[in-house]
Symmetry: C2
Subunit: 341 residues, 2 copies
């Protein structure tokens, strides 16, 4: 296991994020890549590289932040890496903490094998080793990141003080799995027919439907369908098309398939978790029923709380309900800062 | 407008149902085809043929029965046409009535143009003319059939005594429309890439998800996903694959696209309805929110009632909750029979 901090060592993979070639060490943030040998649950032993970013004061309490399968290591902007991160809205909430995040195993499309959420947790542990971080004050995971957080708590619990699992539970719900299985089949249809972009775009559009709610669509896309040429066109189609196109520009079909699979392979025995856990569920989440959040906390063998949000944004509430999420995180971080060395 | 009762006059279309070439006139049922000139809302004047079936005593109160876009004119088995119909479970409920049904305009794939739910209502009116049926005791419509029933009540209300609209409202819900728009795009992707069957199968599987509920999937497909070869496979995939394959055998991609569009083009000003109306909604229907059922009855200018079912089968409750639906229909038909000549 070795820490690689030189930009020259980034593999020139076609799907590598463009910022991989920017300066790695900034005043207030660092990006790097860690070479690990991981024993993958479903794919055997592999030599892999894991990209990470850490932002915030070096001595501050360390918080691992993980989002959905399409999120990456760039959580919030910094002086060194000024682009907006995927959770930019929570930048103020993370102030004074050292935020660490990774690009998911498989996110570059190079690892074409089944990936377990527990593999991701191992990768995070490896990155923390390389960074010299023994204990996380908190692991804040959203969606797939919550699943990985639960695996981290189960398998590396001695390294974690507080888990915050937002919109993710101990299992993938069977209905949500069916929804994702169809997305993967659409990607596969596109790949088979030399229409990879169209397949991936349609899969993403289908995912967007599952991330949002009927209420939101009723408000945003109230207009009746119209006949456009010789076809009917619904009010939401422009929006969904745009979501699909943007996604195709930044995401790889193989990466999508493997990370989508990883959600469905996720299963953790939460009775193995002995870490203080805050579970945040959303009443209108079409992918993670609130009942699964309650079932989860009933199994955890430590202090737990469930916070329930109502949001027309459903599964995407963690990205959209900034104030409500910030209030929950601030309460957790107040404890972290209190407990910092 | 002419009544065509001869089997020889059935057009030998590749998608024609196999029973079209069976004997047309039976002891207790009749099948035929009516040639109509219809002024389609979005596609101009067209010479079309509409296939119908009528079963039950000739002098009994006439009830038009219409199901979803994949339902057809064969509602229940008879001596003449003994195959099980799509609503066979309700055969006893219809006893003593004359049940009339059509194959939807566009169902054979030959009419490749936008079709309005109001066009279907006009087609039904034409079939009733040809059959010499002046007034329907009831129109029982489910899903798309409910939409067509509302159009029939709005545009041909003088011919109808009681409308029963099950799991269908005055509009397509914007979220449900988005879901269907994606299904149509999957079909189009398949058609464009010479993979029509795969596209149609995937679209159908996606539709099945929308017809059912998370609760049902959680009960039926509780097993975790497994790695099968180098792929993750979810517990529901065999079921969904089978649904898709069966559908491809009996349905045409163009028909699917045009009838799916027709749902999204549906919009009726229910304040034009002055017919006694029973609206049946299902609390867990992912396509037709119960709020739309209430909004509908508030607009109808006649006696109305809303009956709300709870069912883990969601939108498909009309096919699965046999007893609850039968109880509602029996109450309506008791009135019909009382009012029969």
């Amino acid at each position: 296991m070795s820490l690689v901090e030189s930009a020259a060592q980034f593999a020139p993979h076609p799907y590598v994020s463009p910022y991989a070639f920017e300066p790695v060490q900034g005043r207030d943030a660092v990006r790097g890549e860690v070479a690990l040998e991981l024993n993958l649950r479903h794919a055997g032993c592999r030599a892999l590289r894991v990209r990470y970013e850490a932002v915030g004061p070096a001595g501050a309490p360390a918080v691992l932040v993980a989002g959905g399968i399409s999120a990456d290591r760039h959580v919030v902007a910094s002086g060194a890496f000024p682009q907006a991160g995927w959770w930019q809205a929570q930048a103020g909430t993370f102030a004074g903490l050292r935020v660490i995040a990774i690009d998911w195993l498989g996110a570059d499309g190079a690892l074409d094998a089944p990936i377990d959420s527990a593999d991701q947790a191992d990768a995070i542990a490896g990155v923390l080793d390389a960074l010299g971080v023994r204990t996380l004050a908190a692991f804040v995971g959203c969606s797939y990141g919550a699943m990985v957080g639960l695996q981290f708590a189960a398998n590396h619990g001695e390294r974690l003080r507080h888990l915050v699992a937002i919109s993710g539970a101990h299992r993938a719900h069977p209905y949500a799995s069916a929804w994702r299985a169809l997305q993967r089949k659409i990607v596969a249809l596109g790949q088979l027919q030399c229409a990879e972009d169209q397949g991936l775009s349609l899969a993403r559009q289908l995912a967007i439907l599952s991330y949002r709610t009927p209420q939101e669509f009723a408000e945003r896309f109230d207009a009746a369908a119209v006949v456009d040429g010789a076809r009917a066109r619904c009010a939401s189609e422009d929006y969904l098309d745009a979501c699909g196109s943007r996604f195709v520009e930044r995401f790889d079909a193989t990466a999508y398939t493997r990370l989508s699979e990883s959600i469905d392979l996720h299963s953790v025995d939460a009775s193995r978790i002995a870490v203080t856990t805050t579970v945040v569920g959303v009443e209108d989440d079409l992918l993670v029923p609130i009942a699964d959040c309650y079932a989860l906390v009933e199994q955890v063998r430590a202090d737990t709380q469930v916070r329930v949000l109502r949001s027309k944004y459903g599964h995407d509430a963690f990205l959209k309900e900034t104030d409500a999420v910030a209030a929950i995180l601030r309460a957790v971080f107040a404890d972290c800062r209190g407990g910092a060395a």
